[in-house]
Symmetry: C3
Subunit: 346 residues, 3 copies
């Protein structure tokens, strides 16, 4: 449930007008998501209560104000917290999207901590969005989702097509002011029951080991009867300072379909391959992820997920951050994870 506080304001005005006259609103919203998760990885295993088994627990405030002439001012302040221990994720009060901006027929301009343009390509091309077990999180940990100090422009939609541009200052590091700078672009096209998107994001890492990363993503989904089919292809290219540059590829295919009035099945298969340097040949991995969601109501959902990663060569991908037993040796373990959880949105 989104609490449209606008209604409160409108009440006072009830004797002199109608709800339609209200031109401003502040909405309090959130997600609470907890699960019990069991991970087995070689000789090691753990069973634990986790926050954000699917979506990170959060609360937020968002507001809009009609400026007239089709223009709107808006803000979005979104927190991330751990419901299992009450902590703030990353020590940030608003670790989610934290922006202020203007929107109108010309598009939308946002300033602050903002999603990179390809985030929407990543999340729109899989049934698992950006969930904890999704291939985006498990197979492409090097990928980015948000950037501080960002300016982002989203075009309006023309006949199903739209685009986004972002540039962020890398100001957080006073010694190396370029470190952390992002630049990105994405384009989307929706037609009939289908959608395709693609884009690029560059991060000036400027660390001792890494100079720059470049991510390229193309994704799509389409509805075939009651089934929605998804797919994406990623490339993550890392310009290293001393070691040779590295390039990895990922492709993912998936589907989701309702299996009852309240139940939805989802599945993806993903494969990550090392293209460069040659020394990493064969350090590949595959992931299978199965999920089922059961809606108890509009706002409350029970879910379960199972995932297995097959690490080959020296690939050492983990599930939900649980370290692989035997990591570092040529043969690392193949982690398996299972979780049952509950998610409530308000």
């Amino acid at each position: 449930m989104k609490i449209h506080l606008i209604a409160c304001v409108a009440v006072a005005a009830h004797t002199v007008g109608t709800l339609a006259q209200a031109q401003s609103s502040v909405t309090l919203f959130g997600i609470v998501d907890a699960s019990v998760e069991s991970i087995k990885s070689g000789g090691g295993s753990v069973t634990r209560v986790q926050s954000g088994g699917t979506y990170q627990s959060r609360f937020g405030l968002r507001g809009t104000e009609d400026l007239g002439g089709g223009n709107t001012a808006f803000f979005n302040l979104e927190n991330r917290f751990g419901v299992d221990d009450g902590s703030m994720v990353q020590g940030l009060l608003f670790g989610g999207r934290s922006v202020i901006g203007l929107a109108g027929g010309w598009g939308l301009l946002a300033l602050g901590r903002e999603y990179i343009p390809i985030y929407q390509v990543k999340t729109g091309s899989t049934p698992f969005v950006f969930m904890n077990y999704s291939s985006a999180q498990v197979m492409m940990r090097g990928g980015a989702s948000k950037s501080d100090n960002a300016l982002r422009y989203d075009s309006r939609t023309w006949a199903g097509a739209s685009m986004s541009l972002m540039y962020s200052m890398g100001e957080e590091n006073p010694v190396n002011p370029q470190a952390g700078r992002h630049a990105g672009v994405a384009a989307h096209y929706a037609f009939g029951k289908s959608w395709v998107g693609g884009g690029w994001n560059r991060v000036a890492v400027r660390s001792a080991a890494v100079d720059t990363t470049n991510e390229y993503v193309i994704g799509a989904r389409t509805e075939l009867g009651i089934t929605t089919v998804y797919g994406n292809v990623w490339r993550l290219s890392t310009d290293n300072r001393t070691s040779p540059d590295a390039v990895v590829n990922l492709w993912m295919a998936g589907a989701s379909a309702p299996v009852s009035r309240a139940g939805t099945l989802m599945a993806t298969y993903a494969r990550r391959s090392s293209l460069r340097p040659r020394a990493n040949d064969g350090d590949d991995a595959t992931q299978i992820l199965l999920g089922y969601e059961h809606a108890l109501s509009k706002r409350t959902t029970l879910y379960t997920q199972y995932s297995r990663v097959n690490n080959r060569g020296r690939s050492n991908l983990t599930l939900s951050g649980f370290a692989n037993v035997g990591a570092g040796s040529a043969e690392v373990s193949d982690p398996r994870a299972f979780q049952v959880g509950m998610r409530h949105t308000f």
Copy 2:
């Protein structure tokens, strides 16, 4: 005042229904509590502004959703802060009860950062609940109140009787995954104007010094005319790794009574004794605590409290965390504390 945001939502629906139809609500609530406190302990003394002289200052969001069939989904996100300096208590955003769960005729299941079952036994058997000067806080600092990563089940109430079970994962320490694990149980019985409760809680501390602690609590209260009489008995047993195991006992007796239309007097006397090891014989303490609360309104209360602890032997209990002057010597000081404060709930 609890802000039932449900009302806001209902407004929009006002033209098509009634408030009774609303099936979801989110409530914003809180307590702001500040006091001026003066503590004297041997040669040392301090006068200071404190937050949470009685209840820790907090704000929170809680919500429920009717799932039909008598079942409800709920969440509770509760912060703790210092109104004296604006800080978050323990560095946690939701340092209070941070849970999501389901409730119905079968009971209640909660997942997250949750009170241990005996917390309700501890707080129901004294007029001072879990306040800063309460015997629970002053005399039994080794006791627990909440646990992260918990699963708690509360039964429904049968003819006044109910019970609670809790198990929490001890996952926070990767080196020693059992450290922090809690297990607990409590039972309650309310009859006429009386109530009794009892329970047990075990914490796998797994530190270098301490292996496990076990807490046992039995408490009761009853109304005798306008006076409510309280009492409880605790045992805290500590399994040490190298030093001999330790057992301490506490008993507390107290009463509260209205003295005017807005005023309530409260008093407790508590005695702590060391049972084991023998070397600690005589390291005992007693505490007297007097309180008066004056309700300015339904939501605003002025309060004053006085407490004195008599430390015997090597007992070194403090009031409000203010170090005893002369601590470490055989004769430590007997701290006295006095506070005047104001508490507002919303």
Copy 3:
């Protein structure tokens, strides 16, 4: 927009009464402020996205309860955050005014983290309030704005005159309990279209280098036609432990005027002089600050500001915290800053 949650409560009571009967309210309010800022200081320069170009981004809860007899209980919990990176300013949840108190015909008493009395003198005597580029922030960094653990009394207003007293405990440092103690007083007088105020604030710093600071401020403003003219004079006196005591003076003059239906121009000129010790003679500075604000609506404003500081002698004042290139040498650079931003209040 201030969300008066009182309205929500009143809805439920709508069938039995009117809005006027409601005697309690909780208000959710806030400011989101972001800018792009460019600073040049000698050979160094930076362009960056900043939070709080004018007012620090924040959200807050404030509430009042009518206690009858003309008395009110109130609280104010005010956060400060960075919209550019989602952080909490100073690591505090309520880094703004965090207080609980009582108000009535006899005045107002607040307890908690509170503004010092001369804060209102400082902010009332300049068009730039306490903004990031204001002379208060740039030229008098040694000045204080709030104090933890404070007790503040504000008198009621008698024929335009009022006064404030504050005392705060310096309890945060257990080794030196006096460190951080504040004492302050201010008086205000409003007559016709004019206002004057003055006051004093003393901080027991008790650091290795500094014993005590004393700040004295006198300020005024008056409306001359459509122009408002401002001025203030400050003295900051520092009692050092080993180095000789230091005294600096500041005077500031400014004006603001509407230039269109939505636009306002503001300007100040400030001069800081070192009075003592003699060794600092000539370590002076001047600052010019120009601002323009354009209201897009009642709650959304675009702004731009330009400032330049001339450092003389060994004066080393910075703009927006950006270090001067060449600092430490006899000739430090003269920083210039320019920003364009957007501010939204709710």
